[in-house]
């Protein structure tokens, strides 16, 4: 059971996301076993934890993946219960998930896909969207001709992550969930990605960043990040940057021993 659980009071605006006692199954297996998490507007939260601790499941469940069945608990976003609404509705309310491994969508051209997304979410006319996409794509290291490739098809690891960020930059969500944006990424891509995360954060987007290592955090500004450590389907520890540094030095082992 959780013994030491420091209450961390973050500053910021109103409550944006509240995850209450979330129990989630994938197939017959319970993966989340009572997760609690609370975020305010504009905050940067980091979820860390070893493989299989439920980090990605948490991200996918908040985004509304149908494979994850909620047995118990609630997800409240901006004061409303979104536990049972579809992923498209969540996107419309301002939640965006940057995938750890985004799937290939054969035959769908990036530009046409982004034009449709921008029309759907922001009511931007396709012609206007075209210019906007080209401009932002350049900033993320894509060329104009790349926009005629199919979504994620044949992309390198770095390209996939940059394309996720490109979508986030265009959509400007209220809450950006980043599922391991730093995994399988070369140094150059990591720089671009973290630069863009900072940019969005400064504009007021709240972040829920899932990472295996603390590496990407070195590139992220803002001292006020809040770290949640997950183990076996629960958040076992919440802290600040110091906690990240400790995990960096000692690994998860000692922290887990403390909370056992």
């Amino acid at each position: 059971m959780l013994k030491k659980r420091p209450i961390y009071v973050a500053h910021g605006g109103e409550k944006m996301l509240k995850v209450e006692d979330l129990h989630v199954n994938a197939g017959d297996k319970e993966i989340l076993k009572g997760v609690n998490l609370s975020m305010k507007m504009g905050e940067l939260h980091v979820v860390m934890g070893p493989n299989g601790s439920g980090k990605s499941t948490l991200a996918l469940t908040i985004a509304g993946h149908p494979r994850y069945r909620i047995l118990k608990g609630k997800i409240i976003f901006e004061g409303e219960d979104i536990t049972s609404i579809g992923p498209d509705e969540r996107a419309k309310r301002g939640i965006f998930l940057a995938f750890q491994v985004p799937p290939e969508v054969e035959g769908v051209k990036i530009i046409e896909f982004l034009q449709q997304v921008l029309a759907e979410l922001k009511g931007i006319d396709p012609l206007e969207a075209y210019d906007l996409v080209v401009e932002k794509a350049r900033e993320l290291g894509f060329k104009e001709e790349d926009l005629h490739r199919y979504v994620n098809v044949g992309f390198s690891g770095g390209e996939r992550k940059r394309f996720e960020l490109l979508q986030a930059i265009l959509v400007e969500p209220k809450l950006l969930i980043l599922d391991e944006p730093d995994s399988g990424v070369d140094v150059d891509s990591l720089k671009i990605i973290s630069g863009k995360i900072n940019e969005l954060h400064k504009k007021g987007t709240a972040m829920l960043l899932i990472t295996h290592y603390g590496r990407i955090l070195e590139h992220l500004g803002g001292k006020d990040l809040i770290v949640h450590v997950m183990k076996d389907g629960r958040v076992v520890r919440t802290g600040n940057r110091e906690l990240v540094e400790r995990i960096d030095r000692e690994g998860f082992g000692e922290i887990f021993e403390e909370v056992m």
Partner: protein
């Protein structure tokens, strides 16, 4: 069926049709003789059809027209209301709707095409209704007509030959390159609406052209059995494209018969986009591929309702280095069934063949079967096949939905994307309509 039709009755009916056609067309004697030869073969020829049995065929012969279609469509007001509504939803212009209905209208498009054809006739591009070509160029037609088929092959071949009417004769003079696609539906409208059109394509060496048959919009035909036949002779070094667009009403059985003989170095891309296959569609095109020549057979199928689609395709790689690709992509909905059975025969050295078959199953009752056939008579041919049959992947759907697209829009995007790579040779004006039809079909709105 209300009454049983005997073989004898059917033959009498066919004979009367032959007489009528011979008189109407004032065709040369050899053609009428050929029709009679086919009639003779009809009785003993095998039927070889997975859907239509002999009694059904005989009843179609006795009564070729379906009920419920207005006898004379004189204006768009005579259209069945559902069809009119569908055409409006697809955003098809009134002029085009009239064409689809078979209304003999003089349109701007028609006039432009006529002027265009007169202009190009001087350069050596001849486009004529096949009946006219028989009279105007009897020697050329006689040398090629029904040389890639035999009347006794099947009852359907025999029946087609006996009663063929309509169709296009296309002749491209040596070295002529036609820089834009020829859309036959608007060139000679009757060809698409006749029950048994015969299309004859003769491309001399080093020519280039792209022929588009049919149209994407649903068309109003009155018959239950459609038997078109296409014979293509592609000379050395010619580059030909034949795109067939079809959207048949659900009461029609279609049996397209296509064959091509390709000489040294010829290239042929034969694409069929079947947005509506009709009640059933069975096609088994054959290609004889000469030295260094290359053929691609692309099939795009949208299976809906209880339609049955059977796609064959036989390639004979006869010359050294000949190659062939048989690729199909099918989106199968409702209780529809799609079968593919391409065969590639490597008969000469250094030949290459590949069969691929992809299917997206959109429901639990949708069925796909694939039987690829690779036959090698030589030891240095490269033959391969691959098949992928599956449903829409949950990951893909979730990804698109997590970007704010609802399930319907996300599904439409995935289905369009699935077919997209195979639509790359289709001109833009058709592509827009094809995409719209796919969207409607996916959303159950056809």
């Amino acid at each position: 069926m209300t009454e049983t039709i005997t073989m004898r009755d059917a033959k009498t009916i066919i004979e009367n049709q032959i007489e009528e056609l011979a008189k109407r067309n004032r065709e040369p004697e050899w053609m009428t003789k050929l029709r009679y030869k086919a009639l003779e073969a009809f009785e003993r020829a095998p039927l070889n059809d997975p859907v239509i049995d002999e009694n059904t065929l005989l009843s179609f012969i006795a009564k070729p027209e379906v009920g419920g279609i207005p006898k004379n469509v004189e204006s768009l007001d005579d259209f069945p209301p559902e069809l009119k509504a569908l055409l409006d939803r697809l955003g098809i212009s009134e002029i085009e709707q009239k064409y689809i209905a078979g209304l003999a209208v003089q349109t701007d498009t028609g006039i432009v095409y006529n002027q265009f054809l007169q202009e190009w006739a001087k350069k050596g591009l001849i486009v004529l209704p096949t009946e006219e070509a028989v009279k105007k160029y009897p020697d050329v037609v006689k040398r090629h007509f029904l040389k890639l088929f035999k009347v006794e092959e099947s009852k359907l071949t025999a029946y087609h030959t006996a009663i063929w009417n309509g169709g296009i004769f296309l002749y491209v003079k040596e070295g002529l390159k036609v820089p834009f696609p020829l859309h036959l539906f608007f060139l000679i409208q009757e060809s698409a609406l006749a029950q048994a059109p015969h299309i004859l394509i003769i491309a001399e060496p080093n020519t280039e052209f792209h022929l588009i048959e049919g149209c994407t919009a649903p068309i109003l035909v009155k018959h239950s059995l459609h038997l078109d036949m296409t014979e293509a002779y592609l000379g050395e070094g010619s580059k030909a494209q034949l795109t067939v667009l079809q959207n048949w009403p659900e009461y029609v059985h279609t049996r397209p018969m296509t064959r091509a003989k390709m000489l040294k170095g010829a290239r042929f891309i034969n694409t069929t986009v079947s947005l509506g296959s009709g009640k059933s569609s069975v096609a088994n095109p054959k290609y004889w591929v000469g030295e260094g020549a290359h053929v691609e057979l692309n099939g795009i199928v949208l299976g809906q309702k209880d339609w049955y689609v059977d796609l064959g395709g036989e390639m004979y790689l006869k010359g050294k280095g000949a190659s062939g690709i048989n690729a199909s992509k099918a989106v199968i909905m409702d209780e529809s069934k799609v079968v593919t059975r391409g065969i590639i025969r490597a008969e000469a050295s250094k030949t290459k063949g590949h069969i691929s078959c992809d299917a997206l199953l959109m429901g639990d009752s949708a069925v796909m079967e694939t039987y690829p056939g690779l036959v090698s008579m030589v030891d240095d041919a490269e033959l391969s096949h691959e098949a992928a049959i599956g449903k829409i992947r949950e990951e893909e759907l979730f990804y698109l939905m997590s970007r704010g697209l609802d399930e319907e829009k996300a599904t439409q995007l995935i289905v369009k994307g699935f077919l997209e790579p195979m639509l790359r040779d289709i001109p833009m004006e058709f592509l827009v309509e094809i995409r719209k039809i796919i969207e409607l079909a996916v959303s159950g709105g056809m």
